[in-house]
């Protein structure tokens, strides 16, 4: 039973949930069993927000067991400390430090840039699957800018 665990974490308004919505859709379209978990409501008023995606052949709990995340994507450096214990020992942390944020046309596309960086590690999923999901979740006029952010993130990772 091989389940892959991904966490997105940041602050309210940064697009954490959009990031996992897009990732969840990509994995769903690829035919994986997918579960995505988060808590809405009070926690979103500018506070810490995190969202989890689990995928594989069969997923039971939607919540990643503590310390068992394979990937931790953090949108705000201050949230690394709060979330790092969720990552497994040899897990991969991706934060704004790892991507060329200075090249972002709009800082709001940081979530997509980081998703691009993550995509390098998820080798079972081809680029087109991500771009199709971006098209599905973003308004037409924002697509080009987000595609650019995604590709900048994707090309910034040397793996």
């Amino acid at each position: 039973m091989n389940v892959t665990n991904v966490i997105f974490a940041g602050l309210g308004g940064q697009g954490v949930l959009k990031g996992t919505d897009i990732l969840g859709e990509v994995l769903f379209e690829k035919g994986f069993d997918v579960k995505k978990s988060e808590v809405h409501g009070m926690s979103q008023r500018g506070g810490s927000v995190s969202s989890e995606v689990r995928y594989g052949e069969k997923v039971f709990s939607p919540m990643i067991p503590h310390g068992e995340a394979d990937y931790l994507i953090v949108l705000d450096e201050t949230q690394v400390e709060v979330n790092i214990s969720k990552l497994k020992k040899d897990g991969i942390l991706i934060s704004p430090k790892d991507v060329p944020t200075d090249k972002l046309a709009n800082p709001k596309a940081l979530n997509i840039m980081l998703l691009g960086a993550l995509s390098v590690y998820l080798q079972e999923i081809e680029l087109d699957a991500f771009l199709n999901a971006l098209k599905m979740f973003l308004p037409e006029k924002l697509y080009a800018m987000n595609e650019e952010a995604f590709l900048l993130g994707r090309n910034s990772v040397n793996k």
């Binding site: 969840g24 069993d33 808590v39 809405h40 409501g41 008023r45 500018g46 810490s48 939607p62």
Partner: protein
């Protein structure tokens, strides 16, 4: 043809409601239930926000009197407000399909308590279904209507935060029994609960429960998975999913219809394993029912009554581990948005050193630094009434420092009853209420209400005007201020009203900044 989607539990309920042709959905917003009606409306369903949960359940009951499939949606504490009609409709039974969706919040992600609403099913005497993922949220919604129509009873669909907000795969159902034709038949012995009829109805209700319990003994809602005979786990709802990850080797009895329990199925299962543990979130309801029936099971340690369960905690429960749990870093707490109109309202309340009774909404965040301006928060509508109690009992000097703050949606919910009390049982020192009117139900996601002039689907509605209602109710002084642009006036006015023995309401009116953005977006769509 059956279709496949990745949906949250709330979206799955909405889709099931559409697919089984629910006539009417009525609710009051409350995390984690709020998205159900919005989604149902987007799918073409008829959905309405009621001023509170009691009203929403009653409107749904009325619809079911006409044989329509109706649902009422609310958060767990909302069921407290709707408890009055719930307990009596449990006696009456319903001619049409009637489902109450109770969204519980174990762990209190966004609530003032973590009450376990499975208790309501037992107490009122109605069946309760517990989905464990979005597929079951979809399937059980449809089955809840089938059960309701078959046994002529309200059915509670009990969701929890994780099931409401987690997304998982849903395959839709093409073979749904058609909804009955809408029709009305007079039946006073069932629908008029005068004592003579209610005595008989109570017996009918107990018989219904006995029938459903017998049905549950062989129902598809019970799933038995026999693996190891060393360990057996009885579970329901989201806990089942954690159990499957925490103890893949265990035998599992999963219960979907959690009240009335299939007690003989449980007894037979427990006899098949050496050790049988009940893993349930919240109160030890199934564990206690098993022990009362003489079934040898272990419940969880008391420390696991608190908060949500997860895979790690279920591992600990199964290992009988009662050592203190590691604290998880809490992160940055929520706060009032930059530019939120409540900020200026609270700065003045804080600086005047008042006793402020608070209420439920974004503005409850006024308790945190840098404001620390709220003294109490009990439940929806309680700010005005608890403020009145303080005014009646405190010595005059302190009584005159008491102010109640309440939001606009909360005012229409049950705050308005507090105004009735204020006018009727006026404290000797009067009272001052500040209505923080930001023109929306902000905390739960910007839902419309009776005072916004828009229905749930954004179409125009008649608009109730707070100041008109207050004036008609004979409140001595009703003033409207913008605490951001007229901060000095607000402060002076508040001091003046506090110094008098009048009963006064100050409406601090300025739209929620997120609400303005939402309306601008909606207007843009319309132009397109």
């Amino acid at each position: 043809m059956a279709k496949k989607f990745l949906l949250s539990g709330n979206e799955a309920i909405a889709m099931a409601a559409r697919d089984c042709r629910v006539s009417l959905g009525v609710g009051y917003p409350g995390t984690p239930s709020s998205e159900i009606l919005d989604e149902f409306s987007k799918l073409g369903g008829k959905a309405q926000w009621a001023p509170n949960e009691k009203v929403s359940l009653e409107v749904a009951i009325g619809g079911s009197f006409a044989q329509g499939r109706c649902m009422a949606t609310m958060k767990h504490v909302g069921v407290n407000v709707a408890a009055d009609p719930l307990f009596t409709i449990a006696y009456s039974g319903t001619p049409g399909g009637l489902v109450l969706i109770s969204a519980d919040d174990p762990g209190m992600a966004s609530s003032q308590n973590e009450q376990d609403n499975r208790r309501y099913a037992i107490s009122a005497g109605v069946p309760l279904l517990e989905p464990s993922d979005s597929q079951e949220a979809y399937d059980f919604t449809i089955k809840a209507f089938e059960l309701s129509e078959k046994y002529k009873t309200l059915v509670i669909l009990r969701m929890t935060t994780r099931v409401c907000h987690s997304k998982s795969i849903v395959v839709t159902n093409d073979n749904i029994a058609p909804a009955p034709a809408i029709s009305y038949t007079k039946d006073v012995k069932s629908n008029v609960m005068i004592p003579a009829y209610a005595r008989l109805a109570h017996k009918r209700m107990r018989q219904r429960l006995a029938d459903i319990a017998a049905f549950n003994e062989s129902s598809e809602f019970v799933k038995e998975e026999i693996n190891s005979t060393e360990l057996g786990v009885i579970s329901s709802g989201i806990s089942y999913m954690h159990v499957k990850d925490a103890a893949p080797e265990a035998s599992v009895l999963k219960i979907g219809l959690s009240y009335p329990l299939p007690i003989e199925r449980i007894r037979a299962f427990a006899a098949k394993v050496k050790r049988c543990v009940v893993v349930e979130e919240g109160d030890p309801i199934v564990a206690e029912a098993c022990l009362a029936a003489g079934i040898k099971v272990e419940g969880k340690n008391e420390m696991y009554r608190f908060g949500e369960l997860n895979v790690g905690r279920v591992r600990r429960i199964l290992a009988n581990d009662t050592t203190p749990e590691e604290a998880i870093p809490s992160g940055k707490p929520p706060q009032l948005c930059p530019g939120c109109p409540h900020r200026k309202s609270y700065e003045v309340l804080r600086d005047l050193n008042l006793i402020v009774t608070g209420d439920i909404g974004c503005y409850t965040l006024g308790v945190l630094p840098p404001f620390e301006a709220i003294d109490s928060c009990v439940c929806m509508g309680a700010s005005i009434t608890t403020g009145l109690g303080l005014r009646h009992v405190l010595p005059e000097k302190d009584a005159k420092r008491v102010v109640s703050v309440i939001g606009d949606s909360t005012f229409w919910h049950t705050g308005i009853n507090g105004i009735v009390e204020m006018v009727y049982n006026r404290p000797a020192t009067g009272h001052v209420v500040v209505i923080l009117d930001n023109g929306t139900t902000a905390m739960t996601g910007l839902q419309e209400h009776a005072g916004t002039g828009r229905h749930l689907d954004n179409s125009a509605s008649d608009k109730l005007v707070i100041e008109d209602v207050l004036k008609a109710m004979k409140v001595d002084n009703v003033d409207i201020v913008d605490t951001t642009l007229e901060n000095e006036r607000y402060k002076a006015l508040l001091q003046e009203r506090l110094a008098s023995n009048d009963i006064s309401v100050i409406i601090a009116r300025r739209p929620c900044i997120l609400g303005v953005a939402k309306l601008a977006k909606a207007a843009k769509k319309e132009v397109k």
